[in-house]
C-alpha cells in the first residue's frame, strides 16, 4: 500500500471516529413568564411541567424574587418538551428549624397537585410566555 493511500485511510478513520450522534430527543420550546398570587408576584417557589405524553422528561422552574420563572429540564437543559402539560406550583418558606419544624405555605396546597391545580400549559416550539395567575 502506498503511503498516500494509508494516510487517506487513516484520515477517513479519524473522520468516522469524530462523527458522533448529535443531540437527539424531544422537540423543546422555551417557556418563561410570571407567577402572581392575588395580584402580587410570588417571591419563591417551583413550577413543574408534567407532560401528558409518557416518556418525556419533566421540566422545572424556580420562581425568582420578582415572580418570574424560566423552565428547564435536568437532562436536556433549557426548555420544556413540546406538547400539553399539567402544571403544579409549590411555594413555601421554612419557618425555622425549631422542634418539630414549622412550614409556611405561600399559596393554597391544591396548586401543588398535578391533578388538583387545574393549571395546564400548551408548549409550542419557539418562545412561550405563560403567566400563572393564582387565586386563594
Amino acid at each position: 500500500m502506498s503511503h498516500s493511500k494509508m494516510i487517506a485511510s487513516l484520515f477517513a478513520a479519524a473522520v468516522f471516529a469524530c462523527i458522533g450522534c448529535g443531540p437527539s430527543g424531544p422537540e423543546m420550546g422555551h417557556v418563561f413568564g410570571t407567577v402572581t398570587y392575588e395580584g402580587k408576584p410570588l417571591p419563591t417557589g417551583t413550577v413543574s411541567f408534567v407532560p401528558e405524553k409518557e416518556g418525556l422528561p419533566m421540566a422545572y422552574a424556580q420562581i425568582q424574587a420578582d415572580g418570574t420563572y424560566e423552565a428547564s429540564t435536568k437532562s436536556l437543559g433549557r426548555g420544556v418538551p413540546v406538547g400539553s402539560h399539567r402544571v403544579m406550583i409549590t411555594a413555601m418558606t421554612d419557618g425555622g428549624s425549631g422542634e418539630g419544624g414549622n412550614l409556611i405555605q405561600l399559596i393554597p396546597t391544591r396548586y401543588g397537585g398535578d391533578r388538583m391545580s387545574g393549571l395546564t400549559a400548551e408548549v409550542q416550539e419557539g418562545e412561550n410566555k405563560i403567566d400563572f395567575l393564582l387565586e386563594k
Binding site: M6, L10, T44, S48, Y60, G113
Partner: protein, 313 residues
C-alpha cells in the same frame, strides 16, 4: 530492494491510533461498569430490607408501621429502621440500644444527645446507597441545637411509601404535617399482605432517596431541614394522634428526581443512578424506575388498594 527490519513511521502511527481508539472505547465502559456494580449493590440493599420487612410480617402478621401512636410520647422518635435491626442481622445494635435504656426505641428521642463516641448511631450497613455522594453518614445535614449530632449519625437512603397524595389524604394540624394513608407504611398503619388488594407486585414498599441534588435552589433549609435526608435514628414526630411528621417514610406528590420545593412529608424519591431510582415492591422484588415514568404511574404504584391498572413498564 532490501527491506529494513524496523517499522515505518506510518505503521507505528496506525498502531498507536488503533490502540488509542480502543482505549477511548473502553474507558467510559469501565466507569459504567463501576456504576452498574454500585447500582447492583444498592438493589441488593433494598432486597435485604424488603426481605427483613417480610420476616417482620411473618412474625407480627403485618408490615412495619410508619408511626406508633403512644400517648404522651412526643418528639423525634425512632421509626421502622431500628425496629427492623433484629430481622436484618443487626440484633447486636438493637441489644446495645436496649442496654442503654429500657424500651429505648419508644422512649422519646434519647439518641439525639447521646455520647457520639458510641458507634451504635453511626453508619449501619445496607441503609445507604454506594452511588450517593452523601455517604454512609448524613453528611449533608447541619447540626442544630435540637439535633446536635445529625451530621455524623448513620445515613438512611431508603424510605417507606405512605401512598399517593391524591388518595386518602390526611391534612394534619398544620401545613407540613399532611400525609397519605393510601400506601403500605404510614402513621399507625397495620397493613397486612392481604390488605394490598392492588397486588404486591404493583405496590411500592420502599423507595430510594439518596440524592438531594436540585433541592436547595431557592430554599436552603429544604436540604438540611426536616424535608431533607435525615439519619436513620429519626423516624417520625407525633404531634397528636392525627398529626405527624414522617421522616423515614414519605408520601408521593412529586416525580422521581424532582427539582424544587416540597413539604416535610413529601420528600421525592431521587438518586445518583443515571435516570431514575430503585424501588422495592411488596412482593420483595426490586426495580429501577425511570425518572420519565409518568407521575400517574408512580402514584398508582404507591397505593395499595385503589384498583388502578398499571400498564407494562
Amino acid at each position: 530492494m532490501k527491506r529494513s527490519r524496523g517499522f515505518t513511521l506510518v505503521e507505528l502511527l496506525v498502531v498507536i491510533a488503533i490502540i488509542g481508539v480502543l482505549i477511548a472505547l473502553l474507558l467510559p465502559a469501565v466507569q459504567q461498569a463501576r456504576e452498574a456494580a454500585r447500582r447492583m449493590q444498592c438493589s441488593n440493599n433494598m432486597k435485604q430490607l424488603g426481605l427483613a420487612l417480610h420476616n417482620y410480617h411473618d412474625t407480627y402478621g403485618r408490615f412495619m408501621s410508619g408511626g406508633w401512636d403512644i400517648d404522651g410520647i412526643a418528639g423525634y422518635s425512632m421509626g421502622w429502621v431500628p425496629r427492623l435491626f433484629p430481622f436484618m442481622e443487626q440484633g447486636a445494635r438493637w441489644d446495645a440500644m436496649e442496654s442503654l435504656n429500657n424500651n429505648y426505641v419508644i422512649t422519646r428521642s434519647p439518641f439525639r444527645y447521646h455520647d457520639q463516641d458510641n458507634p451504635i448511631f453511626g453508619a449501619a450497613p445496607g441503609l445507604w446507597c454506594p452511588s450517593s455522594a452523601i455517604g454512609d453518614v448524613a453528611s449533608d445535614q447541619t447540626p442544630t441545637s435540637s439535633l446536635p449530632y445529625q451530621d455524623i449519625q448513620g445515613s438512611l437512603h431508603y424510605r417507606g411509601c405512605s401512598g399517593s397524595i391524591d388518595v386518602d389524604y390526611q391534612a394534619g394540624s398544620s401545613s407540613g404535617r399532611e400525609y397519605s394513608a393510601s400506601g403500605v407504611m404510614y402513621p399507625k398503619s397495620q397493613t397486612r399482605i392481604g390488605d394490598i388488594i392492588d397486588g404486591t407486585s404493583n405496590t411500592i414498599l420502599l423507595g430510594e432517596t439518596s440524592s438531594a441534588e436540585g433541592w436547595s435552589v431557592s430554599s436552603p433549609t429544604i436540604v438540611s431541614g426536616l424535608t431533607g435526608l435525615k439519619p436513620w435514628v429519626l423516624g417520625f414526630y407525633r404531634y397528636s394522634s392525627t398529626s405527624w411528621l414522617t421522616i423515614d417514610h414519605k408520601t408521593i406528590q412529586f416525580p422521581i428526581n424532582y427539582q424544587g420545593q416540597f413539604g416535610y412529608n413529601l420528600t421525592p424519591y431521587a438518586s445518583y443512578h443515571p435516570g431514575g431510582a430503585m424501588f422495592a415492591k411488596c412482593d420483595g422484588s426490586v426495580s429501577f424506575f425511570a425518572e420519565t415514568m409518568s407521575l400517574d404511574t408512580l402514584k398508582y404504584y404507591a397505593t395499595r388498594k385503589n384498583g388502578e391498572v398499571i400498564s407494562g413498564q
